[in-house]
Protein backbone atom coordinates (compact mmCIF):
# COMPACT_ATOMS: atom_id res chain seq x y z
CA UNK A 1 0.00 0.00 0.00
CA UNK A 2 2.60 2.43 1.06
CA UNK A 3 5.63 1.96 -1.09
CA UNK A 4 6.92 5.41 -0.49
CA UNK A 5 7.17 4.71 3.18
CA UNK A 6 10.70 5.85 3.56
CA UNK A 7 9.77 9.37 2.68
CA UNK A 8 7.75 9.45 5.83
CA UNK A 9 10.99 10.12 7.64
CA UNK A 10 11.33 13.62 6.44
CA UNK A 11 7.77 14.50 7.21
CA UNK A 12 7.94 16.99 9.96
CA UNK A 13 7.36 16.43 13.57
CA UNK A 14 5.84 13.83 15.81
CA UNK A 15 4.84 14.61 19.35
CA UNK A 16 6.69 17.89 19.04
CA UNK A 17 9.95 16.19 18.15
CA UNK A 18 11.55 16.28 14.72
CA UNK A 19 11.65 12.92 12.98
CA UNK A 20 15.02 11.44 12.21
CA UNK A 21 16.28 11.65 8.67
CA UNK A 22 18.41 9.17 6.84
CA UNK A 23 21.82 9.71 5.38
CA UNK A 24 25.04 7.93 4.49
CA UNK A 25 26.98 6.48 7.35
CA UNK A 26 30.22 4.77 8.19
CA UNK A 27 28.92 1.27 7.52
CA UNK A 28 27.16 2.23 4.26
CA UNK A 29 23.73 1.49 5.67
CA UNK A 30 22.01 4.87 5.35
CA UNK A 31 20.32 4.76 8.71
CA UNK A 32 18.48 7.39 10.68
CA UNK A 33 20.43 10.42 11.82
CA UNK A 34 19.79 12.13 15.09
CA UNK A 35 20.88 15.64 15.89
CA UNK A 36 21.88 15.77 19.51
CA UNK A 37 23.55 18.73 21.14
CA UNK A 38 25.72 17.89 24.13
CA UNK A 39 26.93 20.43 26.64
CA UNK A 40 27.22 23.15 27.82
CA UNK A 41 26.51 21.74 31.27
CA UNK A 42 27.27 18.05 31.72
CA UNK A 43 29.24 16.26 34.36
CA UNK A 44 32.92 15.80 33.47
CA UNK A 45 32.58 18.10 30.49
CA UNK A 46 34.50 21.31 29.73
CA UNK A 47 32.13 23.96 31.04
CA UNK A 48 30.56 26.01 28.27
CA UNK A 49 31.56 23.76 25.40
CA UNK A 50 28.71 22.74 23.11
CA UNK A 51 29.02 20.05 20.48
CA UNK A 52 26.22 19.72 17.97
CA UNK A 53 26.45 16.08 17.05
CA UNK A 54 24.95 14.19 14.18
CA UNK A 55 24.60 10.70 15.52
CA UNK A 56 23.87 7.49 13.71
CA UNK A 57 23.42 4.93 16.40
CA UNK A 58 26.22 5.99 18.67
CA UNK A 59 28.62 6.88 15.85
CA UNK A 60 29.38 10.56 15.36
CA UNK A 61 28.86 11.41 11.71
CA UNK A 62 29.20 15.12 12.04
CA UNK A 63 30.39 17.55 14.67
CA UNK A 64 29.92 21.27 14.98
CA UNK A 65 31.87 22.95 17.72
CA UNK A 66 30.23 25.80 19.55
CA UNK A 67 30.51 27.35 22.99
CA UNK A 68 28.68 29.65 25.31
CA UNK A 69 29.62 33.32 24.92
CA UNK A 70 32.77 34.03 26.89
CA UNK A 71 32.53 37.03 29.20
CA UNK A 72 35.47 39.22 28.34
CA UNK A 73 35.93 41.10 31.54
CA UNK A 74 38.98 42.13 33.49
CA UNK A 75 39.08 38.65 35.07
CA UNK A 76 41.87 36.53 33.68
CA UNK A 77 41.28 32.87 32.79
CA UNK A 78 41.79 31.06 36.06
CA UNK A 79 44.19 28.35 34.89
CA UNK A 80 46.43 30.82 33.02
CA UNK A 81 46.42 33.51 35.72
CA UNK A 82 50.01 33.30 37.04
CA UNK A 83 51.63 33.61 33.61
CA UNK A 84 49.34 36.42 32.44
CA UNK A 85 49.87 38.34 35.67
CA UNK A 86 53.61 37.99 35.25
CA UNK A 87 53.31 39.27 31.71
CA UNK A 88 51.46 42.29 33.05
CA UNK A 89 54.40 42.97 35.30
CA UNK A 90 53.22 41.61 38.61
CA UNK A 91 55.52 39.56 40.76
CA UNK A 92 54.60 35.91 40.54
CA UNK A 93 56.76 33.16 41.97
CA UNK A 94 57.60 30.09 39.96
CA UNK A 95 56.21 28.01 42.79
CA UNK A 96 52.79 29.56 42.38
CA UNK A 97 52.85 28.95 38.63
CA UNK A 98 53.93 25.36 39.10
CA UNK A 99 51.17 24.83 41.63
CA UNK A 100 48.57 26.16 39.20
CA UNK A 101 49.94 24.05 36.37
CA UNK A 102 49.87 20.87 38.49
CA UNK A 103 46.35 21.61 39.62
CA UNK A 104 45.22 22.29 36.04
CA UNK A 105 46.63 19.01 34.84
CA UNK A 106 45.13 17.14 37.80
CA UNK A 107 41.81 18.73 36.92
CA UNK A 108 42.13 17.60 33.30
CA UNK A 109 43.31 14.12 34.26
CA UNK A 110 40.43 13.80 36.71
CA UNK A 111 37.98 14.62 33.94
CA UNK A 112 39.60 12.18 31.53
CA UNK A 113 39.65 9.37 34.10
CA UNK A 114 36.04 10.02 35.04
CA UNK A 115 34.98 9.79 31.41
CA UNK A 116 37.06 6.66 30.97
CA UNK A 117 35.07 5.26 33.89
CA UNK A 118 37.87 5.03 36.45
CA UNK A 119 36.04 6.64 39.34
CA UNK A 120 38.72 5.85 41.86
CA UNK A 121 41.54 7.48 39.91
CA UNK A 122 39.37 10.47 39.06
CA UNK A 123 38.34 11.02 42.68
CA UNK A 124 41.97 10.91 43.82
CA UNK A 125 43.08 13.40 41.17
CA UNK A 126 40.34 15.82 42.13
CA UNK A 127 41.06 15.59 45.83
CA UNK A 128 44.74 16.27 45.21
CA UNK A 129 43.83 19.19 42.95
CA UNK A 130 41.75 20.74 45.71
CA UNK A 131 44.50 20.19 48.26
CA UNK A 132 47.05 21.82 45.94
CA UNK A 133 44.85 24.83 45.32
CA UNK A 134 44.13 25.26 49.00
CA UNK A 135 47.85 25.64 49.48
CA UNK A 136 49.06 22.29 50.78
CA UNK A 137 52.79 22.31 51.27
CA UNK A 138 55.07 20.15 49.20
CA UNK A 139 55.94 17.87 52.12
CA UNK A 140 52.33 17.00 52.89
CA UNK A 141 51.27 16.28 49.35
CA UNK A 142 54.41 14.90 47.75
CA UNK A 143 54.02 11.26 48.76
CA UNK A 144 50.40 10.78 47.85
CA UNK A 145 50.64 12.75 44.64
CA UNK A 146 53.56 10.67 43.44
CA UNK A 147 51.77 7.45 44.39
CA UNK A 148 48.66 8.48 42.52
CA UNK A 149 50.57 9.55 39.42
CA UNK A 150 52.51 6.31 39.40
CA UNK A 151 49.39 4.26 39.91
CA UNK A 152 47.70 5.89 36.93
CA UNK A 153 50.84 5.61 34.82
CA UNK A 154 51.21 1.94 35.58
CA UNK A 155 47.63 0.93 34.90
CA UNK A 156 47.69 -1.40 31.93
CA UNK A 157 43.92 -1.59 31.85
CA UNK A 158 43.71 2.17 31.39
CA UNK A 159 46.25 2.02 28.61
CA UNK A 160 44.34 -0.83 26.94
CA UNK A 161 41.18 1.17 27.26
CA UNK A 162 42.15 4.56 25.85
CA UNK A 163 45.24 4.01 23.69
CA UNK A 164 44.65 4.69 20.02
CA UNK A 165 41.84 7.18 20.55
CA UNK A 166 42.08 10.61 18.96
CA UNK A 167 45.54 10.31 17.44
CA UNK A 168 46.95 13.79 16.84
CA UNK A 169 50.38 13.59 15.19
CA UNK A 170 52.68 16.52 15.90
CA UNK A 171 52.63 17.63 12.27
CA UNK A 172 48.89 17.98 12.16
CA UNK A 173 48.79 19.55 15.57
CA UNK A 174 51.36 22.15 14.64
CA UNK A 175 49.47 23.00 11.46
CA UNK A 176 46.34 23.61 13.50
CA UNK A 177 48.25 25.82 15.91
CA UNK A 178 48.18 23.43 18.87
CA UNK A 179 50.89 24.03 21.44
CA UNK A 180 51.63 22.69 24.90
CA UNK A 181 51.19 19.12 26.11
CA UNK A 182 48.81 18.11 23.31
CA UNK A 183 51.49 18.92 20.75
CA UNK A 184 54.37 17.48 22.75
CA UNK A 185 52.48 14.22 23.31
CA UNK A 186 52.46 13.61 19.54
CA UNK A 187 49.97 10.77 19.86
CA UNK A 188 46.71 9.50 21.26
CA UNK A 189 44.64 10.21 24.36
CA UNK A 190 46.87 8.01 26.48
CA UNK A 191 50.03 9.85 25.40
CA UNK A 192 48.43 13.16 26.30
CA UNK A 193 47.50 11.85 29.74
CA UNK A 194 51.08 10.65 30.25
CA UNK A 195 52.32 14.08 29.22
CA UNK A 196 50.14 15.68 31.88
CA UNK A 197 51.34 13.23 34.50
CA UNK A 198 54.95 13.95 33.56
CA UNK A 199 54.43 17.70 33.89
CA UNK A 200 52.74 17.16 37.26
CA UNK A 201 55.75 15.24 38.55
CA UNK A 202 58.16 17.87 37.26
CA UNK A 203 56.03 20.67 38.67
CA UNK A 204 56.02 19.00 42.05
CA UNK A 205 59.73 19.69 42.41
CA UNK A 206 59.14 23.40 41.83
CA UNK A 207 56.23 23.89 44.23
CA UNK A 208 58.27 25.84 46.78
CA UNK A 209 60.42 27.66 44.25
CA UNK A 210 60.73 31.30 45.29
CA UNK A 211 62.23 32.81 42.15
CA UNK A 212 60.05 35.05 40.09
CA UNK A 213 58.42 34.22 36.79
CA UNK A 214 59.80 36.37 33.97
CA UNK A 215 57.34 38.10 31.72
CA UNK A 216 58.36 36.15 28.63
CA UNK A 217 57.55 32.75 30.10
CA UNK A 218 54.08 32.52 28.72
CA UNK A 219 53.32 28.83 28.55
CA UNK A 220 50.15 27.93 30.44
CA UNK A 221 48.88 24.43 31.14
CA UNK A 222 47.30 24.19 27.69
CA UNK A 223 50.01 25.82 25.64
CA UNK A 224 51.64 29.09 24.62
CA UNK A 225 49.71 32.15 25.62
CA UNK A 226 51.61 34.53 23.36
CA UNK A 227 50.56 32.93 20.09
CA UNK A 228 48.08 34.45 17.66
CA UNK A 229 45.21 32.52 19.25
CA UNK A 230 44.63 31.15 22.72
CA UNK A 231 45.72 27.50 22.98
CA UNK A 232 42.19 26.27 23.67
CA UNK A 233 41.00 27.72 20.36
CA UNK A 234 43.45 25.49 18.54
CA UNK A 235 42.25 22.50 20.57
CA UNK A 236 38.68 23.29 19.58
CA UNK A 237 39.74 23.56 15.94
CA UNK A 238 41.12 20.03 15.82
CA UNK A 239 38.05 18.55 17.51
CA UNK A 240 35.79 17.98 14.46
CA UNK A 241 38.51 16.15 12.59
CA UNK A 242 39.31 13.87 15.52
CA UNK A 243 35.71 13.21 16.50
CA UNK A 244 34.08 12.42 13.16
CA UNK A 245 33.60 8.68 12.84
CA UNK A 246 34.30 8.00 16.51
CA UNK A 247 31.79 6.30 18.78
CA UNK A 248 30.10 8.32 21.46
CA UNK A 249 32.16 6.98 24.35
CA UNK A 250 35.41 7.45 22.43
CA UNK A 251 34.36 10.97 21.52
CA UNK A 252 33.90 11.87 25.17
CA UNK A 253 37.36 10.51 25.92
CA UNK A 254 38.94 12.42 23.04
CA UNK A 255 37.35 15.69 24.18
CA UNK A 256 38.50 15.08 27.74
CA UNK A 257 42.02 14.20 26.62
CA UNK A 258 42.35 17.57 24.85
CA UNK A 259 40.36 19.36 27.56
CA UNK A 260 39.90 22.80 25.99
CA UNK A 261 39.20 25.57 28.47
CA UNK A 262 36.40 27.79 27.20
CA UNK A 263 37.32 30.54 29.65
CA UNK A 264 40.64 30.86 27.87
CA UNK A 265 38.92 32.01 24.67
CA UNK A 266 38.46 35.44 26.26
CA UNK A 267 42.08 36.03 25.36
CA UNK A 268 41.15 35.97 21.69
CA UNK A 269 40.27 39.58 20.76
CA UNK A 270 43.75 41.02 21.19
CA UNK A 271 45.39 38.74 18.67
CA UNK A 272 49.13 38.87 18.85
CA UNK A 273 49.16 40.07 22.43
CA UNK A 274 48.07 37.56 25.00
CA UNK A 275 47.11 39.94 27.77
CA UNK A 276 43.73 41.39 27.05
Amino acid sequence: MDHMGHDMHSMGEVAGLPMAERDDDRDALRLDRLHVPIGPGLSDWPVGLILRLTLQGDVLQGVEVDHLPVPSGPRLPYWDEPWLLAAQGEEVTRGRAARRRCAAHLDSAGRLLAVAGWDDGAARCRRLRDELLSGASRQTIDGELRRTVQRIGRSRALRWSIAGLGVLPAGRGRAAGVTGPALAADGDAYDRLMMWLGEIERGLAELDEGRLLTSDELTGPRGRLDGPRPPSQALLDVLPELLTGAEFACARIIVASLDPDIEELALAPASGAAHA
Binding site: M1, G5, H6, M8, V14, A15, L29, G164, L165, E247
Partner: protein, 187 residues
Protein backbone atom coordinates in the same frame (compact mmCIF):
# COMPACT_ATOMS: atom_id res chain seq x y z
CA UNK B 1 -6.69 -27.79 38.99
CA UNK B 2 -3.77 -25.43 39.45
CA UNK B 3 -2.25 -26.85 36.29
CA UNK B 4 -5.46 -26.09 34.40
CA UNK B 5 -5.40 -22.53 35.64
CA UNK B 6 -1.79 -22.06 34.61
CA UNK B 7 -2.48 -23.62 31.23
CA UNK B 8 -5.36 -21.27 30.47
CA UNK B 9 -3.55 -18.20 31.72
CA UNK B 10 -0.46 -18.95 29.64
CA UNK B 11 -2.50 -19.97 26.60
CA UNK B 12 -4.59 -16.80 26.58
CA UNK B 13 -1.51 -14.65 27.13
CA UNK B 14 0.33 -16.45 24.33
CA UNK B 15 -2.50 -15.94 21.86
CA UNK B 16 -3.08 -12.35 22.94
CA UNK B 17 0.65 -11.61 22.61
CA UNK B 18 0.66 -13.21 19.17
CA UNK B 19 -2.24 -11.06 18.01
CA UNK B 20 -0.74 -7.90 19.44
CA UNK B 21 2.51 -8.46 17.51
CA UNK B 22 0.69 -7.39 14.35
CA UNK B 23 -1.46 -4.73 15.95
CA UNK B 24 1.10 -2.61 17.77
CA UNK B 25 2.49 0.33 15.86
CA UNK B 26 5.61 0.50 17.93
CA UNK B 27 8.27 -1.95 16.81
CA UNK B 28 9.65 -2.28 20.31
CA UNK B 29 6.23 -3.20 21.60
CA UNK B 30 5.63 -5.65 18.77
CA UNK B 31 8.92 -7.40 19.51
CA UNK B 32 8.20 -7.65 23.19
CA UNK B 33 4.66 -8.85 22.51
CA UNK B 34 6.22 -11.67 20.52
CA UNK B 35 8.60 -12.31 23.40
CA UNK B 36 5.65 -12.53 25.80
CA UNK B 37 3.96 -15.00 23.50
CA UNK B 38 7.06 -17.17 23.18
CA UNK B 39 7.81 -17.03 26.91
CA UNK B 40 4.30 -18.38 27.45
CA UNK B 41 5.12 -21.15 24.98
CA UNK B 42 8.16 -21.90 27.12
CA UNK B 43 5.88 -21.93 30.17
CA UNK B 44 3.54 -24.44 28.53
CA UNK B 45 6.50 -26.66 27.70
CA UNK B 46 7.56 -26.49 31.37
CA UNK B 47 4.02 -27.38 32.34
CA UNK B 48 4.23 -30.49 30.15
CA UNK B 49 7.20 -31.68 32.18
CA UNK B 50 10.02 -30.78 29.81
CA UNK B 51 12.06 -28.71 32.25
CA UNK B 52 15.19 -28.37 30.22
CA UNK B 53 13.54 -27.47 26.93
CA UNK B 54 11.17 -25.04 28.61
CA UNK B 55 13.96 -23.11 30.29
CA UNK B 56 16.09 -23.19 27.16
CA UNK B 57 13.19 -21.72 25.17
CA UNK B 58 12.89 -18.93 27.75
CA UNK B 59 16.63 -18.30 27.58
CA UNK B 60 16.94 -18.38 23.82
CA UNK B 61 13.82 -16.41 23.04
CA UNK B 62 14.76 -13.65 25.48
CA UNK B 63 18.16 -13.18 23.89
CA UNK B 64 16.78 -13.55 20.40
CA UNK B 65 14.06 -10.96 20.89
CA UNK B 66 16.43 -8.54 22.62
CA UNK B 67 18.59 -8.63 19.49
CA UNK B 68 15.60 -8.62 17.19
CA UNK B 69 14.43 -5.37 18.74
CA UNK B 70 17.65 -3.71 17.59
CA UNK B 71 17.10 -4.72 13.99
CA UNK B 72 13.46 -3.75 14.16
CA UNK B 73 14.37 -0.28 15.31
CA UNK B 74 17.18 -0.08 12.79
CA UNK B 75 15.32 -1.05 9.63
CA UNK B 76 11.70 -0.18 10.28
CA UNK B 77 10.59 3.24 9.22
CA UNK B 78 8.49 3.95 12.26
CA UNK B 79 10.24 2.24 15.15
CA UNK B 80 8.57 3.98 18.02
CA UNK B 81 5.11 3.84 16.48
CA UNK B 82 4.65 7.55 16.94
CA UNK B 83 3.02 7.84 13.52
CA UNK B 84 0.27 5.28 13.13
CA UNK B 85 0.51 3.60 9.76
CA UNK B 86 -0.25 0.23 8.30
CA UNK B 87 2.08 -1.75 6.17
CA UNK B 88 0.13 -4.78 5.14
CA UNK B 89 -0.97 -6.25 1.86
CA UNK B 90 -3.62 -8.71 0.94
CA UNK B 91 -5.27 -8.65 4.32
CA UNK B 92 -8.56 -10.22 3.35
CA UNK B 93 -7.07 -13.12 1.41
CA UNK B 94 -4.70 -13.88 4.25
CA UNK B 95 -7.53 -13.80 6.76
CA UNK B 96 -9.50 -16.32 4.70
CA UNK B 97 -6.49 -18.60 4.32
CA UNK B 98 -5.62 -18.46 8.00
CA UNK B 99 -9.15 -19.09 9.19
CA UNK B 100 -9.27 -22.01 6.80
CA UNK B 101 -5.98 -23.38 8.08
CA UNK B 102 -7.07 -23.04 11.69
CA UNK B 103 -10.44 -24.68 10.96
CA UNK B 104 -8.76 -27.57 9.20
CA UNK B 105 -6.22 -28.03 11.98
CA UNK B 106 -8.90 -27.83 14.66
CA UNK B 107 -11.08 -30.34 12.85
CA UNK B 108 -8.14 -32.67 12.51
CA UNK B 109 -7.22 -32.26 16.15
CA UNK B 110 -10.72 -32.87 17.43
CA UNK B 111 -11.64 -35.69 15.05
CA UNK B 112 -8.43 -37.66 14.90
CA UNK B 113 -8.39 -40.83 17.00
CA UNK B 114 -5.33 -39.98 19.06
CA UNK B 115 -3.55 -43.06 20.35
CA UNK B 116 -3.45 -43.67 24.07
CA UNK B 117 -0.29 -42.87 25.96
CA UNK B 118 2.41 -45.46 25.40
CA UNK B 119 5.01 -45.98 28.07
CA UNK B 120 5.72 -43.42 30.74
CA UNK B 121 8.27 -40.69 30.93
CA UNK B 122 11.51 -41.54 32.63
CA UNK B 123 12.58 -39.73 35.75
CA UNK B 124 14.85 -37.43 33.80
CA UNK B 125 13.58 -36.48 30.31
CA UNK B 126 16.61 -34.22 29.87
CA UNK B 127 18.83 -37.30 30.10
CA UNK B 128 16.63 -39.04 27.51
CA UNK B 129 17.03 -36.12 25.16
CA UNK B 130 20.78 -36.07 25.60
CA UNK B 131 21.13 -39.81 25.07
CA UNK B 132 18.88 -39.63 22.06
CA UNK B 133 20.77 -36.76 20.46
CA UNK B 134 24.08 -38.47 21.07
CA UNK B 135 22.73 -41.86 19.98
CA UNK B 136 19.92 -42.65 17.55
CA UNK B 137 19.46 -38.99 16.61
CA UNK B 138 23.13 -38.30 16.09
CA UNK B 139 22.52 -37.50 12.45
CA UNK B 140 19.98 -34.82 13.43
CA UNK B 141 22.41 -33.35 15.89
CA UNK B 142 25.21 -33.22 13.35
CA UNK B 143 22.93 -31.65 10.76
CA UNK B 144 21.89 -29.02 13.28
CA UNK B 145 25.49 -28.37 14.16
CA UNK B 146 26.57 -27.95 10.57
CA UNK B 147 23.61 -25.80 9.67
CA UNK B 148 24.33 -23.54 12.63
CA UNK B 149 27.93 -23.28 11.54
CA UNK B 150 26.89 -22.57 7.97
CA UNK B 151 24.53 -19.92 9.29
CA UNK B 152 27.31 -18.19 11.16
CA UNK B 153 29.49 -18.06 8.08
CA UNK B 154 26.66 -17.08 5.75
CA UNK B 155 25.32 -14.30 7.97
CA UNK B 156 28.74 -12.74 8.36
CA UNK B 157 29.36 -12.90 4.61
CA UNK B 158 25.97 -11.39 3.87
CA UNK B 159 26.00 -8.70 6.49
CA UNK B 160 29.50 -7.37 6.36
CA UNK B 161 30.77 -5.00 3.77
CA UNK B 162 34.45 -5.35 4.48
CA UNK B 163 36.58 -8.38 3.82
CA UNK B 164 40.12 -9.11 4.88
CA UNK B 165 41.53 -7.23 1.90
CA UNK B 166 39.83 -4.10 3.16
CA UNK B 167 41.16 -4.68 6.63
CA UNK B 168 44.71 -5.85 5.99
CA UNK B 169 45.51 -4.30 2.62
CA UNK B 170 45.74 -5.91 -0.81
CA UNK B 171 48.72 -8.03 0.11
CA UNK B 172 47.27 -8.87 3.55
CA UNK B 173 50.51 -7.67 5.09
CA UNK B 174 49.26 -4.82 7.25
CA UNK B 175 50.03 -5.59 10.87
CA UNK B 176 47.08 -3.73 12.37
CA UNK B 177 43.67 -4.03 10.80
CA UNK B 178 42.31 -0.86 9.25
CA UNK B 179 39.02 -0.76 11.17
CA UNK B 180 36.91 2.29 11.88
CA UNK B 181 37.16 1.43 15.56
CA UNK B 182 40.13 -0.29 17.12
CA UNK B 183 39.49 -3.60 18.88
CA UNK B 184 40.89 -4.86 22.13
CA UNK B 185 43.40 -7.49 21.10
CA UNK B 186 45.71 -5.07 19.38
CA UNK B 187 45.99 -6.73 16.01
Amino acid sequence: MLDDLIFWALALLAVAGGVMVFRFDSMARATYALLTSLLCVGGEVLLLGLDYLGVVIVLMMTIEMAIMAVFMVMYMMNPAGLMPMTMVHNKRGAAVICTGVFAALAAGILLAPWPARRGRSSADPTMDLGLSLMGPQMLTMMTLGFSLFATIVATVVLATRRGRYDRFGDDLKARAADDPVRGGVGR
